[in-house]
């Protein structure tokens, strides 16, 4: 297990769990949850500075970007141009090149607009960004992103924040078989079992935000997610037994009295 590293763009990470930093009650609760989760990558959003309330706490004061890898996202962007603008600004804040691209297509279900996503990926790769791309659980879309130079494929399990779990396990497995890129389930995880399941399907990592932040006890769920990802990964590497529709006794028949 020591040699089982999680590598993105030649950088080695200890944890296969990536956590989002949104929806927490406070930055302090968020920072505690991140610590307990063991994640060494967090997603962050780019927004206007509040120029009237100077005392508003800053995320960077709670989560030190020198100790944890910030992965800026493009949440809330519905066009390629908006996403590009956001990530160029993010890079200017502190030189970050590892980014999470998400271009949404529908305000209600938050499904990604894959046409705009692919367009943005092409431009960002040319500009030197390392792009981890939120996408549909569609093997063809994933292949196109890989060909465009994406650094990681991040298909949804189900709609963002829905907690519906992995809806299309077969597609996730197909994407697993076709790509050597890091495959990370992003969005839709509801509980620790979902996270473990993603890992058992062969994903390299899981990105979780709402399932931790909006659980009744975020710090406890952060720990549960950490353990689920470790457990799911080990289970995947160990290899499950074949499905068998008849019973097979676990105790030997020989020597029965």
């Amino acid at each position: 297990m020591d040699k089982d590293h999680f590598i993105i763009e030649k950088k080695r990470f200890k944890s296969r769990l990536i956590v989002g930093t949104g929806k927490y009650k406070s930055f302090s609760e968020c920072a505690k949850a991140v610590k307990i989760s063991g994640a060494d990558i967090v997603t962050v959003a780019v927004r206007r500075v509040n120029i009237t309330d100077k005392k508003k706490p800053l995320l960077m004061d709670h989560l030190d970007p020198k100790k944890i890898t910030y992965m800026p996202n493009t949440a809330g962007c519905f066009t390629s141009n908006e996403a590009l603008r956001t990530l160029r600004l993010a890079r200017e804040i502190g030189g970050w090149k590892l980014v999470k691209l998400e271009v949404l297509g529908d305000k209600k279900n938050l499904f990604p607009d894959m046409e705009e996503t692919l367009k943005s990926t092409n431009v960002l790769v040319k500009e030197g960004f390392k792009v981890m791309v939120y996408c549909n659980d569609d093997p063809l879309a994933a292949k196109k992103l890989e060909d465009a130079g994406a650094s990681a494929i991040m298909p949804l399990a189900s709609p963002i924040g829905s907690g519906l779990g992995i809806l299309n396990k077969v597609n996730i497995k197909i994407i697993r078989k076709q790509t050597k890129l890091p495959l990370i389930i992003d969005a839709g995880i509801g509980d620790a079992a979902d996270a473990a399941e993603a890992m058992q399907l062969g994903c390299d990592g899981v990105l979780v935000n709402t399932a931790i932040a909006k659980s009744k006890k975020p710090l406890l769920m952060a720990e549960a997610m950490k353990l689920a990802v470790i457990s799911g990964r080990k289970s995947y590497l160990a290899g499950r037994i074949k499905f068998n529709f008849f019973g097979s006794p676990s105790s030997p028949k020989k020597g029965i009295i």
Partner: protein
Amino acid sequence: MTKKNKIKIKVNGKFISVNSQSTVKNILIGKKIPINKVAIELNKEILNKSKIDKIKLKSKDIIEIVHFIGGG
């Protein structure tokens, strides 16, 4: 200072009145914004933070100052 020396600019969607000789850096310092934790756009163009002390503002300039917040 007379009104003549003032110009109106827009910062993060809000109109403010500033000294006509102001640079972008003056605005950030005036608003107590930590420059190392933000990115700045002037009229939709991203600025190199090491040069913002040399950029003088004009009337109707639009500045956007962004930083990282919690997000998924």
